[in-house]
Subunit: 315 residues, 3 copies
C-alpha cells in the first residue's frame, strides 16, 4: 500500500469538480480511498500522514455529514482541522469571499475545504489561492467528493462501473450530487438514466451523455444501481412541485417499482433521507440499500483526497 501511494501522484492542486477529472485520476483517488478504508476499522484509527498540516473546513451552508466526514478524515490523518461556519464568521461583517480566503491563506493552511451556496465559489478560491481547494458542494453545480464516494461504493459492490445501468431519480435540476455523478459515471462507462418531475428536469441533459426517461419505471428497469436524490423540502413553498405527497406517489422508490430493477440492484441516497418521500422506509433499510456504506466510504474518499493533495509531496 505505502509503495503504491508514494509512487503515484495526483497532478493537480484542487478538486473542484468531477467534470475536469480524468478516468485515471478518478481511479487513483478510488484506489487510494480503498487503501485508507481500513484505517477507520483499526483499534487505533490514526496515521501520522498529515501531521503538522492544517485543513480548514469553511462551510457557508449547514452540514452535519459532510463537515463531520472531512473533520474525521483530517483527524485520522493527524492533520490539524479548523472549522469555520458562516454563522460565526466575518461574512456577517461584509467581507468578500476572496478577502476571507486571502486572509485564511495568510495563516498558511494546506487545504481549504469549502461549501458555498454559490456555484463557482470554490473555483474563485482555487484561482486566487496557492493552497489546495476541495469543493464540498457549490450551489447546484458540483459535489465531487459525494460522486467519488458514490463511485467507490458502486465499484466495491459491482467490481466495475463500466457497463452498468445507473438510474438517478428526483430533483435533477437542483442537485449538485446528480451533476457530479453524471460526469463521473458516464466517464467511467456507465449508462446513466435520469427520471424526475418535469419541473425538476433541466432541458438538454442528453448532451451530458445520459438518457432522460419519460417515466421513472423506464429508468429503473434492469438498473444495476438506483440513486434517489434528496428533495429539498424547504423548497416546497417555492411551488416547484405541488406537495411532498404527490411527489412521493409518483417518484418515491419502493418495493413495487424497485422490482423492475435487477435482482442485485444497489439503492443509493446521498442523505439526509426524507423517509417516505424519496424512498420508502422499508427499502431504505433493506439489504439492497448501501446508504450507510456510502457514508463509510465518504470518510475514506476524503482521507484519500487530503492525502493526495497535501501528503504526497504535492502541496
Amino acid at each position: 500500500m505505502e509503495t503504491e501511494k508514494n509512487t503515484r501522484k495526483l497532478d493537480r492542486k484542487d478538486i473542484l469538480g468531477i467534470k475536469e477529472l480524468s478516468v485515471e485520476e478518478i481511479n487513483l483517488i478510488l484506489e487510494t480511498a480503498d487503501s485508507f478504508l481500513e484505517v477507520s476499522t483499526r483499534e487505533i484509527k490514526k496515521v501520522p500522514t498529515l501531521r503538522g498540516k492544517t485543513v480548514i473546513n469553511l462551510f457557508y451552508e449547514a452540514s452535519t455529514r459532510t463537515r463531520t466526514s472531512f473533520e474525521i478524515a483530517g483527524k485520522r490523518l493527524s492533520a490539524d482541522t479548523v472549522n469555520i461556519t458562516a454563522s460565526t464568521s466575518s461574512v456577517v461583517k461584509g467581507e468578500t469571499l476572496i478577502d476571507t480566503a486571502r486572509n485564511l491563506e495568510s495563516m498558511n493552511p494546506d487545504i481549504i475545504v469549502i461549501r458555498h451556496s454559490a456555484a463557482g465559489a470554490p473555483h474563485i478560491l482555487a484561482r486566487v489561492l496557492k493552497q489546495s481547494i476541495i469543493n464540498a458542494g457549490d450551489g447546484a453545480h458540483e459535489h465531487p467528493t459525494q460522486a467519488l464516494l458514490d463511485m467507490m461504493t458502486i465499484k466495491s459492490k459491482k467490481g466495475a462501473i463500466a457497463g452498468l445501468k445507473v438510474a438517478i431519480t428526483g430533483d435533477i435540476a437542483h442537485s449538485r450530487v446528480a451533476r457530479s455523478n453524471i460526469h463521473g459515471l458516464t466517464k467511467m462507462g456507465a449508462r446513466v438514466f435520469l427520471a424526475g418531475p418535469a419541473t425538476m428536469m433541466p432541458y438538454g441533459m442528453e448532451k451530458m451523455g445520459v438518457t432522460v426517461a419519460g417515466r421513472i419505471e423506464e429508468a429503473i428497469e434492469d438498473a444495476d444501481v438506483v440513486m434517489a436524490l434528496r428533495i429539498q423540502t424547504e423548497r416546497e413553498k417555492q411551488c416547484i412541485f405541488p406537495s411532498l405527497r404527490e411527489y412521493a406517489a409518483h417518484f418515491s422508490l419502493n418495493k413495487r417499482n424497485i422490482g423492475l430493477a435487477r435482482k442485485d440492484v444497489m439503492i443509493m441516497h446521498p442523505g439526509p433521507v426524507n423517509r417516505g418521500v424519496e424512498i420508502s422506509p422499508d427499502l431504505a433499510d433493506s439489504a439492497s440499500s448501501v446508504i450507510l456504506e456510502q457514508v463509510t466510504n465518504g470518510v475514506a474518499v476524503r482521507m484519500a483526497l487530503l492525502y493526495l493533495l497535501a501528503g504526497s509531496g504535492n502541496a
Copy 2:
C-alpha cells in the same frame, strides 16, 4: 493505578442512566475518576490512553460546561473529538435521530456523547448503534455524568456516601439532575430528602426511596449535603411558579436556613447558578460550597467513562 485500571472493566456498552448501574459499577467509575483527577493538574495534562479513538459530542441542546467538559476529557486522553450542535446539523434538514445516528455510526466513532431534549433519545441510539453511547442529559429524565461527579465530590469530602443525609431542593419535577442523583445516592446508602414548591414536586417520589419534606427546613435540618437545583428561568412564563422573587423568598438557600444543617454541610449546585434565586451569592462563594470542585470532578468522571468504555479493551 495502571494495574487497577487494566484489571477491572465496566461490563456494559453504554452509560444511559444511574438507574441501571450497580453499586459496584458506580464504585468502579468513581475510583477510576479519582485516578484521572491528577492528570488535569500535571504540567502536561495529557495521556495517550485513547489515541486514535473518535469521540463525537452530539448536542441537541445548548451547553457550555457539559460539552466543554467532555471535549477536554477526550482531548486529555488524546482522543479525536468532534462537536456537532443542533443548530449547524442536518436535523434542520428533517432527518430522523436514528438516521443521523446511523450516519455517524458509519464514520466509525468509538463513543457518541448525546444531549437531547427528549427523554429516551440516548436509549434509542444505544439500541440501534454498535458504538458506546453516553447520555449527557435527556429531557427531564437522567443526567448520569452529573450524578457521578456529584457522588465523586461527596465521597471525596465525606469519605463515604452511605449514611449521609442529602437534601435536594428546588424544581424536582423538571430536573434530570435530581432524578439521576436520587437513583445514585439511594443506591449508595444515603438518606435523600426532597424539598420544593408543590408545582415542582411530582407525586409519588417516595417510591424512589426518598423522603418528601413538607418544608425546606425539614430537608435541610442536620443535612450533610444540600444540593440546590437550577431553576430554569426560561420556564417562568409557563406559570409553574409566580415569580423568581417569590421562589427565592421560600426556597433559596441562604446563611439563615443553612444554619439548620450540620456544621460541615456541603453545598452543591449543578450550575449554571442563578445567584439570588436558588442560592444566595454569599453562600455560593462560601467555604461550604463545593460547586467548583464539582466542575473539576466532572472532567475526571468523563475521562473515566471514556476510558472505561473505549480504552480498556471494551470497545
Copy 3:
C-alpha cells in the same frame, strides 16, 4: 532561537492591553513572534512546545480571523484548543461572566482567550482566575494582539518603529485597534497622527501623545505608515455618519491621497476590509499594502503569547 526563548521570560500572568506593557516586554514578544514565524512555513507546521496544555477560546462576539488565528496558533504549538462561542454557551442561561469563568477555571485550562463586547471583561477574569487571560478584543477598549501584530509588521518592514510617522484614519472613537496601537506605537517612539470624522474622534486624544489632524491629508503627509480602521457598517443606522458614500468621499484611502505619504509608505488595515469605504480596492491590493502580512504575523504573535504565558515555565 531555543536558547533565547528559554532564557527570557514575560513576567506577567495576563495580556490585557498594550497600555500596561513596557517597551522591553513588547520587544520580547515581537522577537519571540519572529522566531515562531518560520514554524508556519515548514513542511510540518507543528512544534511540541505546548503539548498537554489547554487553551480555551471564549468568544462572546463573532470573529473569523481572530478566533481562527488563535486556534491555529494553539494547534501549531500542539496545545489542545477548545472553542466556546456565546451563541452555544450557557450565557443564554443567565450565568454571570465570573461564574462562567470560574467554571472554566475549574476544568484546569492553561490560558483563556476572551473576546467580549464589554470593555474590561478580560480584566475581571484576570483578577478572579489563576489562569492566564489574553484579551482578544474588549468593547472599544483594547485589542492588544492586533497592535502587537501591527507593530511586528511595521518593524519587519521598516527595521524599527522609533521615529516613524504613523497615520491612523477613520473611526477612532469606536476602535479598540486604534487605542491599542496608539499605546504601543507611542511607547515604541513613533509619531502618531489621527484623522477621522469629527463624530468619530473623541475629545482629548492629544493626552495619549498623538496629534489630531484637522484633515486626513495632514495625517497622511510624509507618513511612513497609514493604518485605516474598519468602519463598522452595522453602526451606520446609529447616525454616526451620514452615509458610507460620504465617509468614503472624505476619508477613504486612495491612490490620490496616498500620494502625499512617503514613497515607501506601508498601508495597513486590521480587516475585514470594506472595499471602497476605508480604502480603495486598487490600494488594498497594491504593493504598498501589508494587510495580508498582518494576518500572517498574527498567527506568529499569538503563538509567541501562548508560548510566553504557558510554555516557558511561567504558567
